[in-house]
Subunit: 124 residues, 3 copies
């Protein structure tokens, strides 16, 4: 936790682009959320052309869903979204209407890291 | 947002079936939720035979998970589920025991559309 | 519901390993959560080498996200996480730092089983 799931159309991110985005996302969570680097997990899901739709049209829709612990302030999350948006857009080159981001929160009692129930957020 | 993730066994939905389901889902959200069409995102995830299990048996399990803003009433969400169920079942032909739907809500401060933090639900 | 989504690098779980993990997960939910067997859904998502990252390094990250109804106690969920962790680790052989688990809750009005809105949790 955070678990970053990045969903893109196959071909949008090549291997170097994935590595660069993963580096930036990992660094972002370590710096912004203050979590240990080994808590940051990223999975890229890629789908074939035709499996993404935005605004009713086939599109290389890019989605980032992020699973974090509850306890952060609204302002914290808003700024997080702004920065994640920039990272995803820089990596994918997608126009605004083909990007969607969502942060999903789970109570610390519902998430496990390193075999331990994760602690609550100390401060936000 | 809404982000519709449709998970099916490969081969259950061919390209025309995906396009038709995407059209119907998009129209549904625009009409029922009153969101702009360019907020509606859909991704189809397909898995190979053997990767779906329902009731302990290998099955072409069909799942729709939907990420929406918080703020809708229970009755609104119940009716939404009923209508989504019909759309998914019509498209996949899956029997009741191989379909699962879940609506996940995120506060508006945790979701971004068109580079903007999305506004709160005006009414439900 | 529960919907178990298991994300692993391709090759980590072969067919017998998936079948065994699916059997154990299904039995776990029936016994621990007391749900009917035909409510338990499992989907395996597999990604190619290079698409998983933990601690900033390419890794065969293994994730289990679980969608359940709200209403269970913290202690119930903690014990659930401990047992799921053991099942996932036994199946994948992944070290602690490459496993992440999250339980996501949805109100019963937001989930459908067998074409019915699912009932609330009777007790936890």
């Amino acid at each position: 936790m955070p678990l970053n799931t990045i969903t893109t159309q196959a071909g949008v991110l090549d291997s170097p682009a994935k590595a660069e985005l993963a580096d930036k996302l990992t660094a972002f969570h370590v710096e912004y959320a203050g979590v240990p680097q080994n808590w940051v997990h990223i999975v890229f899901h890629e789908y074939p052309i035709g499996n993404g739709v935005s605004a009713g049209r086939p599109s290389p829709t890019a989605a980032l869903t992020l699973l974090i612990r509850t306890g952060r302030s609204s302002e914290y999350r808003r700024e997080m979204l702004r920065r994640l948006w920039s990272l995803v857009q820089a990596a994918t080159g997608a126009p605004d209407e083909e990007i969607v981001l969502g942060i999903q929160e789970v109570p610390s009692s519902q998430a496990t890291e390193m075999r331990q129930i994760i602690p609550e957020v100390a401060s936000s």
